[in-house]
């Protein structure tokens, strides 16, 4: 079954009734890391779908290998949205996810990451893992865009495979960078706060 990226993006947007907002930032093809709160397996797909087509073509969502490689349909979908699949169960020392990401983005692509690690079932966002910090440290030139995903966990909650078509909202915030000599904990806290405050805007 041939299915184009545009069609997949359209279906994803209709199904999740998503509204897209850009606050103090604009869609751009420059290299970026979009980092968002993680509430549903649809997150990566939907952020990708919310980007305008020419930006979308350069974006690579980082997603869980164990979920997106199960079954032929998911595998096929993952190739359409150019997912960068990360093995969560087996993290090698010399092949850390951050190294893999840096290698894969090269000098043109952007990334969509979920620094909380696993999906969060609580209402409050989890603490950010340090991967985002190392990304910023190794590639200080890449813009970091906070993204807040609202209500998508109700569209497809954990452990469910049938989506319920409620309305969700995706908010892109202003770019941030790792400051010179900024401590890891401070940076991660600041990044998390930048995502959280988009909820109330």
């Amino acid at each position: 079954m041939p299915m184009t990226a545009a069609l997949l993006a359209f279906v994803a947007k209709v199904l999740s009734g998503s509204t897209v907002r850009w606050i103090d930032s604009q869609p751009d093809t420059c290299q970026r890391v979009y980092f968002a709160n993680h509430t549903s397996h649809l997150d990566a797909l939907l952020i990708w779908a919310s980007l305008p087509p020419h930006v979308r073509a350069l974006a690579r969502p980082v997603a869980a290998k164990d979920y997106w490689e199960r079954g032929a349909i998911r595998r096929h979908l993952a190739t359409i949205f150019h997912a960068l699949l990360i093995d969560r169960t087996e993290i090698k020392v010399h092949q850390s996810p951050v190294d893999l990401m840096i290698r894969e983005v090269g000098t043109t692509h952007s990334l969509i990451v979920f620094p909380e690690g696993g999906r969060n079932t609580e209402t409050e966002m989890g603490e950010f893992k340090s991967g985002l910090y190392y990304l910023g440290k190794k590639r200080p030139d890449i813009e970091m865009i906070p993204v807040y995903i609202d209500n998508l966990n109700r569209v497809l909650p954990r452990g469910e495979f049938l989506p319920v078509p409620l309305l969700s909202c995706i908010t892109f915030g202003p770019a941030m960078w790792l400051e010179h000599q900024e401590p890891k904990a401070d940076f991660l806290q600041r990044a998390r706060e930048n995502v959280r405050r988009l909820k109330d805007l």
Binding site: G17, R21, E160
Partner: protein, 323 residues
């Protein structure tokens, strides 16, 4: 035949009035900001556009072959969207997910398929949601094993299904009534009935707003809706009754009957918008539209239609139908 000559004329006049209002709004928009508030003009233009679109799509679906089916599908989509807004607004828990899936993908389509099949399924579509849906929802939620706020959660899903799907489905069901006039089969087009109904509901909403602004003093329930006043309510019911009576040529009613029906529709429309205001206020939002930024609030436009449709349908069926 869905559309007869009087109904065509009415639809034509309506689209023309809306178009004129739209261009008048555009002209106002070009005025300096000191003369008119641009936000109000934008809201006005937006509403006019939404109405124009609704009647244009409706008119188009009356004209094409299988027009009744097209109208049923149109209302099915509206129901689906309204339910989406209703459930998004309502806090549900993880345990409700499967029940919601059934509500969206089984009960909603099934209701509209039965309505599309026509009057011989009247008894089935009249009880599908109030009986089977009503019993199914709590069962499915109970099977999910989460007892917290059980009654509240199931009641919310049931209310959403009843208001957004069951009640609204009576509007396209109007098209398949076997109408009689003076003891004989009515020869007019059934689209006139739906047009009559929608016009009267919307005129009721509009006149209530205008009368409320002009002469409204005593607010009925300030905690629920600060723009609904006793003066506005009474004046709008009276004007809607008079104007609705004048629409009698598109219906099997005579002038007096059309006026009485308009009275009932105006009161039910008021009931619908009050009830939905109460739900919105309870959830702390002003409009379903602002619930998700930049999203169109279909439920804001449909609330009065939802409440008036089943009552108008059943009164018509009881007094003016051969079935």
């Amino acid at each position: 035949m869905l559309l007869d000559v009087p109904a065509e004329i009415l639809l034509g006049i309506l689209l023309a009035i809306l178009a004129i209002a739209y261009f008048a709004g555009q002209a106002l928009r070009r005025q300096p900001q000191s003369v008119v508030n641009p936000a109000i003009v934008d809201t006005f233009l937006y509403r006019i556009r939404a109405w124009w679109l609704l009647y244009a799509v409706l008119g188009a679906s009356f004209l094409i072959p299988y027009g009744r089916l097209a109208t049923v599908i149109l209302f099915g989509i509206l129901s689906f969207w309204a339910l989406r807004e209703f459930i998004t607004l309502t806090p549900t828990r993880l345990g409700d997910h499967r029940a919601l899936f059934w509500v969206f993908f089984v009960f909603t389509p099934a209701q509209y398929i039965l309505v599309a099949l026509g009057q011989q399924y009247f008894e089935t579509y009249s009880i599908l949601i109030p009986v089977y849906g009503f019993l199914f929802v709590p069962t499915r939620v109970a099977l999910a094993g989460d007892s917290r706020r059980f009654l509240e959660r199931t009641a919310k899903i049931q209310a959403g299904l009843l208001i957004c799907v069951y009640a609204l489905s009576h509007a396209p069901a109007l098209l398949d009534l076997q109408l009689i006039k003076d003891g004989e089969k009515w020869r007019g087009g059934s689209a006139g009935m739906l047009l009559f109904f929608l016009l009267v509901v919307q005129f009721g909403d509009l006149s209530q707003f205008l009368w409320g602004k002009l002469i409204g003093k005593r607010v009925i329930a300030p905690a629920i809706n600060s723009s609904k006043t006793w003066e506005g309510f009474v004046a709008s019911v009276l004007t809607t009754t008079l104007l609705g009576g004048l629409f009698w040529p598109v219906t099997p009613f005579n002038l007096l009957e059309a006026a009485c029906m308009s009275l009932v529709i105006a009161v039910m429309g008021f009931a619908g918008s009050m009830t939905m205001s109460a739900i919105k206020r309870d959830r702390g939002v002003r409009d379903y539209g602002t619930l998700v930024q930049g999203h169109v609030g279909i439920l804001d436009r449909m609330d009065s239609i939802c409440f008036a449709a089943p009552v108008f349908f059943h009164l018509t069926r009881l007094f003016f139908s051969a079935a």
